[in-house]
Symmetry: C2
Subunit: 98 residues, 2 copies
C-alpha cells in the first residue's frame, strides 16, 4: 500500500511561470528521494490555471521525509507557496500498488 | 508531455468488492500496455466509497488504445461500470514527464 498526495495549486497569471519553475526543480529533486514512486505535475485543458500534482510514496514516512527535505523547504515553502492563490491537498492510499 | 486520466468511481457497498476485483484485473492488464506509464487505484481515508484511479499514458493515442483494448471492454465496460453509481473522468497533460 503506497501513500498518495494529490495537490491542486492555483496562482495568478503573473506568478505562474515562477511557480512552475520552482515546481520543476521540486519535482526533479523529489523524484530522487528513495521513498518516491512518482511525482507528476499536470494541467487540464479545461483548467489551465490549476496546477495539479500527483505524488506517490512507498509509505507515509517517505512523504513526511519529503516535506522535511531541504528541496521542499526551498522550492515549495519559500518559493512557490507564497505565490499561490489557493492550495489544496488530498491524501489517499493505493489499493493496488504500481 | 504525457496524457493523464484521473477517474473517480462510486459504487454501492454491496457491489464494491466486485468492482474492486474487476479494477484489479483491469489495472494489472493495463500496466502491461506499451503506452502505459502508471495505473494507480487509490482510496482516501475521508472518502472510502470513492475509488480513484490515476492513469498516465505516453500520449493520447496510447490512452485511446487502452479504451479499445479487450481487457478494458471486459473489466470496465462489461463488468465494473454497470455496477457504478457515479463515474467521473478528468483529462490532463503532464507539464514535466515522470
Amino acid at each position: 500500500m503506497t501513500f498518495i498526495c494529490s495537490a491542486r495549486w492555483t496562482t495568478t497569471p503573473d506568478a505562474r511561470d515562477r511557480v512552475l519553475d520552482a515546481l520543476m526543480s521540486l519535482a526533479a529533486a523529489s523524484r530522487q528521494e528513495p521513498g518516491n514512486l512518482a511525482y507528476v505535475v499536470h494541467v487540464s485543458d479545461e483548467d489551465p490555471g490549476v496546477l495539479q500534482i500527483f505524488e506517490n510514496y512507498v509509505d507515509e514516512a517517505a512523504f513526511d521525509a519529503h516535506v522535511a527535505s531541504e528541496h521542499f523547504q526551498r522550492w515549495a515553502v519559500r518559493e512557490a507557496i507564497p505565490l499561490l492563490v489557493t492550495r489544496e491537498r488530498a491524501f489517499s492510499r493505493s489499493v493496488d500498488a504500481v
